[in-house]
């Protein structure tokens, strides 16, 4: 497999054809995912010819917390780790947001959002620092923090409660509508999708072009080589985990926005985030993949769930099917990875 990190791929020169060819080769996994998503949309339309903008909006809102969880997990996996505390951090930030905003003015919501995002960075940085300082494997440290953040969430709120600013709730409900775009097009763009694109883009795009982004890929693909090339390995790792925390905090905010309250119980986001990362073409060994793949993967998995509901399949059977889809996905993914390693 080519050792070029995707971050340097953009620097390549050549004729437009060559560049396009290289783009396809380097992004074959993501392109295949888009294809799969397209096929699933076609399938959805055949089983439910009426599927349209309202269903897309529902899908986007349902996918939102999963997407942030997947983005958070992606950062940890890219740097060569894994974060088992993603769902716990989401829960903790969600209950903190709900408690902060309870009985406060609408304007205070802005401060609350800022505080929660900072808190996410802090939680993630604590995860990262603990990994670097104790030199205990990532999986064990984040397992410990799984308990710690979950316990902290229970201390903040021992039963569902709190509230959310109304404008925050409005931020994800419904389509963008005729705000700037023509109304027909606007109806097809859910606010939730826009929010997701903006929040992830604001962090990911500058990161991808920065020294830190390159360092994350370097540390993830070969720690020792990165160290010997002068990359500050420990600092990079802490930064990557802080970003995991930041995305998890966004996910937590979305949970509060979606339900209007905070719930100190973890959702199924940990497993889902790992599944999306694997399906999204991010190597669990670290240093390979991007953010777009896992997000597309989240939409594939959520759409699959929506299709099962549309086919009026018993929710319990739907869970089996969803699980089998994930198994199939990881099996196929593993075979593909094995092939490319051998060739």
């Amino acid at each position: 497999m080519s050792a070029t990190t995707p971050a340097t791929a953009d620097l390549g020169k050549g004729s437009p054809g060559e560049i396009a060819g290289r783009f396809v080769r380097r992004n074959s996994w993501t392109l295949a995912l888009w294809g799969l998503l397209g096929l699933m949309l076609v399938f959805t339309l055949t089983i439910q010819p009426g599927w349209g903008a309202p269903q897309l909006t529902i899908l986007a809102i349902a996918a939102l917390p999963y997407a942030f969880a997947a983005a958070a997990q992606t950062m940890a996996v890219l740097v060569g780790g894994i974060d088992l505390s993603v769902a716990a951090m989401m829960t903790l930030t969600s209950v903190c947001a709900a408690v902060l905003m309870q009985g406060q003015s609408e304007e205070f919501g802005i401060i609350a959002v800022g505080l929660i995002l900072l808190m996410g960075l802090g939680l993630g940085a604590i995860n990262g620092l603990s990994i670097v300082l104790t030199r205990v494997p990532d999986i064990v440290v984040t397992l410990a923090f799984f308990f710690i953040w979950e316990g902290a969430a229970l201390l903040v709120l021992d039963a569902p409660g709190g509230s959310s600013a109304v404008w925050l709730r409005d931020l994800i409900i419904g389509p963008v509508g005729g705000f700037i775009l023509p109304a027909e097009l606007g109806a097809w763009i859910p606010k939730a999708l826009l929010l997701l694109a903006v929040s992830l883009g604001v962090v990911w795009i500058p990161l991808r072009r920065s020294r830190l982004g390159l360092s994350i890929y370097a540390v993830g693909s070969d720690r020792l080589a990165a160290f010997r090339s002068g990359v500050p390995v420990d600092r990079t790792k802490v930064a990557a985990y802080a970003l995991t925390g930041l995305f998890a905090a966004m996910g937590g905010l979305v949970l509060t926005m979606n339900t209007g309250i905070g719930t100190p119980i973890q959702g199924p986001y940990l497993l889902a985030s790992v599944a999306a990362v694997v399906l999204g073409g991010v190597s669990l060994a670290g240093g390979k993949g991007g953010l777009v793949g896992p997000i597309v993967a989240v939409f594939i998995l959520r759409l699959a769930r929506q299709d099962l509901t549309l086919m009026s399949i018993d929710p319990n059977v739907a869970q089996v099917v969803e699980g089998l889809i994930m198994v199939a996905v990881v099996l196929v993914g593993a075979v593909v990875a094995l092939r490319s390693r051998r060739s």
Binding site: R135, V136, I148, F227, V274, L284, V320, G323, V330
Partner: protein, 331 residues
């Protein structure tokens, strides 16, 4: 990284002793010290609590955890992990309880463990043949089993479920007032696991795979056969743990053993089994399970809120593994 090791070497030399040797070769000794220390703290906080009955109670509750942690230890030796143990244990208990009225106790147990083995076969095929990361594969298999269990429960709504006397006798009862009957299952099981790891080719292969998978393959080992047998064994162990646990709790539910998953990983990790494979053993894990159980009672005695209990639990896992890593680190 190398500089840190130098510093550690220096400090060790200055003290004139090398505690690392003890920790590396006999991790069980400091662990037992930790266990006794925790028991002493419990006794100090609530004088008179530590009695024969208290100890037997700790053992009774630690045994299902230790059995689930056995599954974790074996898979971790190869560099894997089995996160499906909780749901597989729950499923085994539930299937056993619902099938007992139809098939009778013995057959119901066999059928339930057979289903558990099938789940293990699934994980084993994924890890051994398709080379999926064990963490992912066992999580995914767990999800499928959970869904199937829900479907099965809907099908069985009309039928009576029953926990046979044999199971409650084994799981919950004590002989002579203090000796938990679950030791009748656990002691032979622990001996078998110890023998398997130390005295059989299969056991040595687990260490070998965890240490250097590539070399093991080149040496002619059929990796997939070892891994599939391993995950089947792991699931059957989880099933046995689930049966004892349902006997102890005396109520079969759909989330019975699920809360035991992370403690089972923690028990193995605290017990000195490396999550990267190749190092560890079952003795440490048993002590690890006891440590966690005593810790749980300690927090109960202190009447700390549930949230704080989980935080302390997490900090202990982190603290013990950090101390362990720092002391035994060779790189």
């Amino acid at each position: 990284m190398s500089s840190a090791t130098d510093v550690m070497d220096e400090t060790a030399a200055r003290r004139g002793i090398d505690p690392r040797t003890i920790f590396r070769d006999r991790p069980i000794i400091p662990l037992i010290a930790l266990l006794l220390g925790l028991v002493a703290v419990v006794e100090l906080l609530q004088p008179g609590i530590v009695s024969e009955r208290w100890i037997s109670n700790i053992i009774r509750f630690a045994i299902p955890l230790a059995i689930l942690a056995a599954a974790q230890t074996l898979t971790m030796l190869t560099g894997g992990i089995d996160l499906s143990v909780g749901i597989v244990a729950t499923m085994t208990a539930f299937v056993m309880a619902t099938q007992t009225p139809h098939l009778g106790t013995g057959l119901a147990i066999v059928v339930a463990l057979g289903v558990a083995a099938l789940a293990g076969l699934g994980s084993g095929i994924g890890v051994g043949i398709f080379r999926v990361h064990p963490l992912i594969m066992t999580l995914a298999v767990g999800l499928v089993v959970e869904g199937l269990l829900l479907v099965y429960q809907r099908l069985m709504l009309g039928t009576r479920s029953e926990i046979p006397e044999l199971i409650t006798w084994l799981g919950a009862d004590r002989s002579f007032g203090i000796i938990p009957n679950s030791l009748l299952v656990f002691v032979p099981l622990a001996v078998v696991i110890w023998f398997l790891l130390k005295r059989t080719g299969f056991g040595r292969l687990l260490y070998a795979i965890g240490d250097n998978e590539g070399a093991t393959r080149l040496a002619g080992v059929r990796y997939w056969q070892v891994i599939i047998s391993l995950y089947i064994l792991s699931a059957v162990l989880a099933g046995i743990g689930g049966l004892l646990y349902v006997g102890l709790i005396k109520a079969s539910s759909l989330s019975l053993a699920v809360p035991l998953v992370l403690p089972s990983v923690a028990a193995a990790v605290i017990g000195g089994t490396s999550i990267f494979g190749g190092r560890g053993g079952y003795g440490g894990t048993i002590v690890g399970a006891l440590v966690l159980q005593v810790l749980a009672t300690l927090l109960l005695v202190l009447q700390v809120p549930e949230g704080t209990r989980r935080i302390v639990f997490g900090l202990i896992i982190l603290g013990v593994t950090a101390a362990y890593t720092r002391i035994t680190e060779e790189r």
